[in-house]
């Protein structure tokens, strides 16, 4: 048995049964990262000494009976999370030398429990991308086929789980950035309801859409992580002060009688036949488990991508105004004056896609265009939310594909930004509606690439999608397949 290919839940059992120590398992993952990361580039920073020190402290806590659920368990986080004393780049040149002076709340909660930070994960720059090719560093490669992308923007978070480099990771999801890479890498990824997890300390992209969530090897592992990170945070006024359910307890309840909605707008011509077949077979699995399948309609689905690229870019252009070369980050040399310093620092520090989105968002918000673009998009967002409310009157959970195709090849979409944007058509509406969604493995293409199933829940009803996801895992073997890396 290797420690590095165990799930978080199993590692926790081994740790508490005294069969291993936090230090031993931390070392196993660090060694695995060292041996494999040149093939997939999932990590931007590896925290070896800090991790081993934290692991030894965790072993002390366990020995003295002071353990919490995540004490001693290794985890890696997307480089969008501020992590005190650790380099935090957001995969951008402009933050290449930035050392975070504080911890993001979601990560702080894991750290407080004694979770062990293995390192910081590669991503699309400022979380803008669907392939992880927009990193300022080396692109992440898919562990199932290193000629393919892992998805994005949390590409490192998904690839490190698939590659057995970490048992669990944190990512962020603004338009699909947890679920789409989870699908392409054959792991489980959960985007909680907007407001369920604090956004404090994650580097902001589009503040009305961004949400923190876990990626791991099983639904039960995601439940364990969500339990640790969910909850109100006074430092994020959009986090919601609601009771936190027992997510692990929700897993084992029955799904017989559950109403599962299939939105007809998600089973369209552009859907890859292999993906369609796998998702339809997944629906049949649910029927055989006693769930009831119902057809539902989300009539404004076609407009979601257009709506998203106005709302998200407008918010991004405002959020990214803070990178000015004054207080942190990279500053252009030999400036004539202040404006020259701003404009050249930003031009040198940001990559192509980030510039494209800043420009689009600035345009959409500029005088004379605000009503036509940004306000219009916010109104369409209302229609998309209403679609979901209506669908959830007929169904407890919605079942859809995560992405229209399996992972594509590196370079395949880099010259066509619109084609790249359309790889998120099935995930974007969930962010606009503000509700929760999860991706889990439901099959493979003939060429051996994973296919993801998306389960969408009512706002704050993570327990139901976790329960449905866990039931699917118990009935299938897809999540047990591993790439050979």
């Amino acid at each position: 048995m290797q420690l590095y290919n165990q799930t978080l839940t199993e590692l926790r059992r081994l740790l508490h049964a005294g069969e291993t120590s936090s230090e031993e398992m931390t070392r196993a993952f660090l060694d695995r990262i060292e041996a494999t990361d040149h093939k997939i580039n999932a990590f931007l920073t590896i925290c070896r000494e800090m991790a081993l020190e934290a692991a030894r402290a965790a072993d002390q806590r366990i020995a003295t009976g002071d353990a919490e659920p995540l004490t001693g368990l290794p985890i890696a986080v997307k480089d969008i999370f501020n992590t005190k004393g650790v380099r935090t780049t957001c995969a951008s040149r402009i933050l290449d030398n930035y050392i975070a002076p504080y911890d993001a709340t979601a990560f702080a909660r894991i750290k407080q429990q004694g979770g062990v930070l293995l390192g910081k994960l590669n991503m699309d720059e400022f979380a803008m991308g669907s392939s992880n090719e927009n990193t300022a560093y080396q692109p992440v490669r898919n562990p199932w086929n290193t000629e393919c992308v892992p998805g994005g923007s949390s590409g490192g978070s998904a690839a490190c789980i698939a590659g057995d480099q970490a048992p669990a990771a944190l990512g962020t999801d603004t338009g699909g950035s947890i679920r789409q890479p989870a699908a392409h890498c054959g792991v489980v990824g959960l985007k909680p309801t907007y407001g369920r997890v604090s956004r404090y300390g994650i580097i902001a992209y589009a503040s009305s859409l961004d949400q923190v969530g876990p990626l791991a090897g099983s639904v039960a592992d995601c439940a364990l992580l969500l339990q640790a990170i969910a909850g109100y945070d006074p430092a994020d006024s959009t986090s919601v002060d609601m009771p936190i359910p027992d997510y692990s307890a929700a897993l084992t309840e029955k799904i017989a009688g559950m109403k599962i909605g299939l939105p007809k707008e998600y089973f369209i011509d552009g859907l890859d036949p292999e993906v369609r077949q796998a998702v339809e077979q997944a629906a049949e699995v649910y029927r055989s488990l006693g769930a009831e399948l119902v057809e539902v309609s989300l009539p404004h689905t076609d407009y979601a991508t257009a709506c998203y690229y106005l709302v998200a870019t407008a918010e991004a252009s405002s959020n990214l105004a803070r990178y000015d070369g004054v207080r942190y980050g990279v500053r252009a040399a030999d400036s004539r004056d202040l404006i020259d310093m701003y404009t050249r620092s930003r031009a040198q520090g940001f990559g192509t896609e980030v510039k494209r989105r800043i420009m689009l968002g600035t345009y959409a918000l500029s005088a004379g265009y605000y009503d036509a673009y940004y306000l219009k998009a916010q109104k369409v967002r209302t229609l998309i939310r209403q679609d979901f409310s209506a669908a959830f009157e007929r169904a407890d959970v919605l079942l859809t594909p995560v992405a229209p195709t399996a992972a594509f090849r590196l370079g395949e979409k880099t010259d066509d930004p619109l084609q790249m944007y359309l790889s998120d058509i099935f995930t974007i509406p969930v962010n606009l509606a503000g509700t929760c969604g999860m991706s889990l493995p439901c099959g493979f293409t003939d060429s051996g690439l994973p296919i993801g199933l998306q389960l969408i829940g009512k706002p704050f009803d993570e327990p139901t999608i976790l329960r449905a996801g866990h039931a699917f895992e118990q009935a299938t073997e897809w999540h047990k397949r591993k790439p050979s890396l």
Partner: protein, 95 residues
């Protein structure tokens, strides 16, 4: 084209981005394509629709006005691009 070169230049000044000639041409092409795509939103009648700014209703959050410990000066200055123990150095603003 939906967007002129002059307009791309105007937006780049608003966005504080010093763009090269080639970048301006590329961005004009990309923005034109994307703005063409988002035009489909005009197919929808939204006259009576209330815009959504946040999926969750958000009200002003107020906290007690208490003195709390923040960063020390050294911590706040630790990431400054030009090291200086007293503050953030910037190019001259007033001639």
């Amino acid at each position: 084209m939906k967007i002129s070169r002059a307009e791309v230049e105007r937006v780049s000044r608003l966005a504080r981005l010093a763009l090269g000639e080639q970048e301006i041409d590329d961005l004009r092409r990309d923005m034109d394509q994307i703005l063409g795509y988002v035009e489909q939103l005009n197919e929808l009648d939204t006259v009576d629709i209330v815009p959504t700014a946040h999926a969750v209703p958000v009200e002003n959050a107020l906290r007690a006005d208490l003195v709390r410990t923040g960063f020390s000066r050294d911590q706040a200055l630790a990431n400054a691009p030009v090291p200086d123990p007293t503050g953030f150095r910037v190019p001259r603003i007033i001639e």
